[in-house]
Amino acid sequence: MGLNSKFWWKWLLVGGTFCFSLTNIPALAQETGFINLYNTGVDIRLGARYFERQCSRCHGLDAKGNDETGAPDLTVRLSRASSDAGVFRIIREGIAGTAMLPVSADVPDPQVWQLVTYIASLNTDPANFDLPGSVAAGAALFTGRGDCGSCHMVGGVGGRRGPDLSRVGERRDPDELKTDLIDPNETVLPRWWTIRATATDGTVVEGWRMGEDTFGIRLIDANANLWSFSKEQMQSYERVEDSTMPSYAQTFSESEIDDLVAYLFSLRKEN
């Protein structure tokens, strides 16, 4: 669309009013025989308003989901629906055996379609971004000078010292990816915190935190060994909530960072 709108989705979240059509919706809908006609900016806004009232209690105002309620993140590819028609059906019928109830029968279909359009708009469609970097150049840096594969897997190849990036473009937008490269400590998922544990027999194990609870800790160390400790087995343990990834601000030029961002943002299931 040529819409360089790295913030467009954030505007939508706060109820922005500009209009554009989501060209991907009719294409998706055709596959299943449904066509969502409620696909304008106004529909997105009305869908967002309905979402805030009816859906955000479980899915969050930012639609990013909530472990406590079991509500999934709706801003990434949905695991239970692969088309607009599928999302429509879930909203209409609910998901049996879960907290996802159907919307009231009084809600007219057009309103549900607007909600579908709003949810679709949250998914960071790469077609909506005109990034300055080159995907090919970024891929070369990733496997070459950056040696990113020593810690990260892409497509089943790479290391285990960092997150699998095979589909990172579905869950991080370009701004976030850039920050991840320049300032890895900005956002560190608890899975990537490190723990240094000293057992009562003096053994010291250090690794990434796969799981931690009141009574135990599970780690993966730098050699990909898995460890499980009961806290009773430890003299002490230390938790570091920084990232083990270095900043690449000095390693790469600004345009190279752009290339890496373009490459990472291109990593999706289709690839």
Binding site: G97, N185, L226, R239
Partner: protein, 544 residues
């Protein structure tokens, strides 16, 4: 402000844990070393682990562990439970490798947990399309492992490979097109350097097959159709082009004999299930045991249990392999209690029929001839009005794992003495739609009928003892060197019997249907028994 918050949480958190009175006794070792083919070949010799769906390649579901035995099994207590977050009916048999348990969940997910505590290391969630074609629930029965890679079937008929240390997806291949009615639920079987796997969809007019894949890349190495087609003289066992929608799904995990280099695998019903008018003939190789050359997949022999089946009696049972004394000679046999209510002992070198007898209520056959072919009772085919036949559609047994104990020499099966009225209907094939040609109904409430664990002598087919189960059971069985037999029931009991006599030794009410098979393992010298019931995986051990 956000930056400040990040700084605060970035500070190291040091926690001192007060020293315990009892210091940690065992040496801490990193869990999980690669599972080589050599380890899988000798899986029975590392009973602390449960390395594949049926325990070992001969699928005996017998463990050499004996810490829990007939003298102390009454002291079992719950050690931990793992709640599967997606509500469905758990049919999983976890595997355990060096203290790590891999559990599959409905619909097609995997979780890795500490086998001692049930606490999670990682999970993998598989994306599924919303228009799946599945006959019988959103099930998955388990993973296979080779090296550091797990292999899992998925409901959209894919085979996925996962890094066993992190759950990262390594590859994902479409085995078949789910939109045509194919799906996958069974644990794959590792045979040397191949991942061997079957397919479900027998109620959708598929043409079944068994495949082998390269574990490193997911490339398909061979495919053997379970329904004879053009170029194969056995296609003459199908009238006209009916082989094209002939069914013969392979929705179970097979077995392997390394000496004979043969893979043994069962095949499902011919399609459509209950109306055989358009598929006259024996319908090879539906309802059969197939022996495949492990290197190229070629069928070396087959044994068809139910020629021209019209009752949906899939030969989807786990083939149990053992060397037993038969008429004064040690024979390499395959033991098979079929859904059609007959028990068979077959020479697995060549498929010769040795022993065959009913092990459950049946009214459809007068017996078996000298080749093991059933002698049908006339007039037992489904009709438009309906006709009552035993066993029921679900069968005298089903996919529920049987077991064999080399210690007792007995074969154990969960048998159901049921009956049903079978109906025939006319049906045209439409791709991706159900293609069954009829159905069945109980003529009395199902709780009228009962199951039993039956212990058979494989050299004669005689029933040595039975343990009646009310109302009934759809659970698998395991036995141990502690002379124990573990199984469960639909009303939520998990119990232990004396494998020699059938005497009940222990039971616990788990509150939901047991629809999986138990398995046993040990960590740091302590034996555990695990069973899935309802939506929960539960692990039991002796009281501390």
């Amino acid at each position: 402000m956000k930056r400040l918050a990040i700084l605060l949480v970035s500070l190291s958190l040091a926690v001192q844990v007060s020293a315990q009175e009892e210091p940690f006794q065992t040496t801490m070792t990193p869990a999980f070393s690669p599972v080589t083919w050599e380890r899988l070949l000798n899986a029975a010799d590392e009973p602390e682990n449960w390395l594949m769906y049926s325990g070992n390649l001969s699928s005996q579901r017998f463990s050499k562990l004996d810490q829990i035995n007939t003298s102390n099994v009454a002291d079992l207590e719950l050690k931990w439970a793992y709640q599967i977050p997606v509500i469905d009916r758990a049919e999983t048999v976890p595997i355990v490798v060096d203290g790590i348990m891999f559990i599959t969940e409905a619909p097609s997910n995997v979780v890795a947990v500490d086998a001692r505590t049930g606490r999670r290391y990682w999970r993998y969630d598989h994306d599924l399309p919303e228009d799946l074609r599945i006959c019988c629930g959103r099930n998955n029965r388990g993973v296979a492992i080779l090296g550091e890679t797990l292999f899992m079937s998925t409901l959209d008929a894919h085979l996925v490979a996962l890094d066993a240390r992190t759950g990262n997806l390594l590859w994902d291949v479409a085995v078949a097109d789910y939109a045509k009615g194919y799906s996958k639920t069974a644990a794959p079987l590792i045979v040397k350097d191949k991942v061997v796997t079957g397919v479900a969809g027998g109620e959708f007019g598929i043409r079944g097959f068994i495949d082998a894949y390269d574990p490193a890349t997911g490339e398909r190495l061979w495919r053997t159709y379970t329904i004879a087609g053009p170029g194969n003289p056995d296609v003459s066992s199908w009238s006209e082009d009916s082989w094209q929608t002939g069914g013969g799904a392979s929705w179970i995990t097979g077995s392997y004999d390394p000496e004979l280099n043969q893979i043994y695998w069962g095949t499902g019903n011919p399609g459509p299930d209950w109306n055989g008018d358009a598929r006259l003939g024996d319908n090879l190789y539906s309802d059969s045991a197939l022996a495949l050359n492990a290197d190229n997949g070629e069928i070396e022999w087959y044994f068809q249990f139910t020629p021209h089946d019209v009752h949906d009696w899939d030969a989807i049972q786990v083939p149990i392999l053992a060397d037993i004394n038969y008429q004064g000679r040690l024979r390499k046999v395959m033991m098979w209690a079929n859904r059609n209510a007959f028990y068979y002992t077959i020479d697995r070198e060549n498929g010769d029929f040795l022993v065959g007898k009913p092990y459950a209520l049946q009214t459809w056959a007068q017996g078996l001839d000298e080749n093991g072919r059933p002698i049908r009772v006339p007039g037992m085919f489904p009709t438009y009005e309906g006709i009552v036949v035993s066993p029921s559609i679900g069968g005298a047994t089903n996919w529920w794992s049987p077991a064999f104990s080399p210690q007792t020499g007995l074969f154990y099966v969960n048998a159901f003495d049921g009956e049903q009225k079978f109906f025939k209907r006319d049906e045209e094939y439409t791709e991706g739609e159900r293609f069954t040609g009829g159905g069945g109904q109980y003529i009395q409430p199902i709780d009228t009928y009962f199951s039993a664990i039956r212990a058979l002598d494989p050299s004669t087919g005689d029933i040595r003892w039975e343990f009646p189960i009310q109302p009934r059971s759809s659970a698998g069985i395991s036995t141990t060197a502690g002379n124990l037999l573990f199984s469960g029931s639909v009303d939520g009991y998990f119990y232990a019997l004396d494998a020699r006599t059938g005497e009940e030794l222990w039971n616990v009410s788990l509150g939901a249907r047991v629809h999986a098979a138990p398995m046993t393992f040990s960590v740091d010298g302590e034996q555990f028994v695990t069973i899935a019931a309802g939506n929960v995986v539960m692990t039991f051990g002796l009281k501390d």
